[in-house]
Symmetry: C2
Subunit: 134 residues, 2 copies
DNA sequence: GCGTGATTACTCGGATACAAGATGTCCGAGTTTGAGCGG
DNA sequence: CCGCTCAAACTCGGACATCTTGTATCCGAGTAATCACGC
């Protein structure tokens, strides 16, 4: 029960992409070097973000990744769901009656967390990222 | 990023222990049979709950497990922490400046969830469990 | 100068390798109850 | 009837085995920009 490292990479990458100019795409090598990950692995993570529709890739020389959406539309939850999936964190598989009361409580708690992640946009931190990442 | 099955087992077991009489301990075999788990594995899970101080084990014949605390003192969060650990769900390991802004947001969200799990007691469901588990 | 082809700098996707954690299983050891047996 | 012993019913803990998932690497393929070369 922990968030994966991939989620951490995704969040940080999105933050730098938001801070960067949307005109010029940023190469994976550059993004990977900052975080100390291999470019191919980061590329795999970013593919999920592309499929989620929040960034787009530019092939060829001088290629890379850039935002494909307005930066204010991207919440923490969007990124987390793109990487971790949208399935519920808790699932009671054995069947007792129609619904599991325990699961109901767990889902409620999960929604509390998601609500906070949904209303927090990455652009809220964008102006500070240059400082903290530098 | 999912809750483990062990947490599910622990929660359901605690629910039946709360519903049962605290005088007579319930054997692992009986608890395991209801949930379809092997007794030895469930025993391993329950050991964590014992160390957390919320139940106690009774050795020997007619032994088993029973509550060692008032049932109103046991929250969802207590059990989850006993099984999953108390570490933060999100940890940004690479160092940029003093603190990671992303992690700060994630921890806030996590606290929202924990707050809900903390204020929800298992005894709230105890009277309904006999129905849903039967 | 201009088009054409080759080279270079990229991303993309699948296949693969590796490690860690979750999920169980097995077995020996300790502990208590209770039955059986002898005095 | 009492006390002792022994077997049975339990939990406890560690040592395995297995399976899934996360993490990461490697390589070939495709793509676009740039450079080189010849006309």
């Amino acid at each position: 029960m922990k968030f994966s490292k991939a989620t951490n990479y995704a969040l940080h990458t999105m933050l730098t992409l938001i801070a960067a100019s949307p005109a010029k795409p940023v190469g994976v090598q550059q993004l990977a070097e900052v975080q100390g990950v291999s470019p191919t692995y980061l590329s795999k993570i970013l593919t999920k973000l592309v499929k989620a529709g929040m960034i787009e890739s530019v092939s060829g020389a001088n290629g890379g990744y850039r935002l494909s959406r307005k930066k204010d539309d991207i919440s923490f939850l969007d990124i987390i769901h793109a990487i971790e999936g949208t399935a519920s964190l808790f699932e009671c598989d054995f069947n007792h009656g129609a619904e599991c009361l325990i699961q109901a409580v767990m889902v409620q708690a999960e929604e509390k967390m998601e609500q906070h992640l949904k209303q927090t946009k990455l652009s809220d931190l964008a102006d500070k990222v240059s400082v903290s990442l530098g």
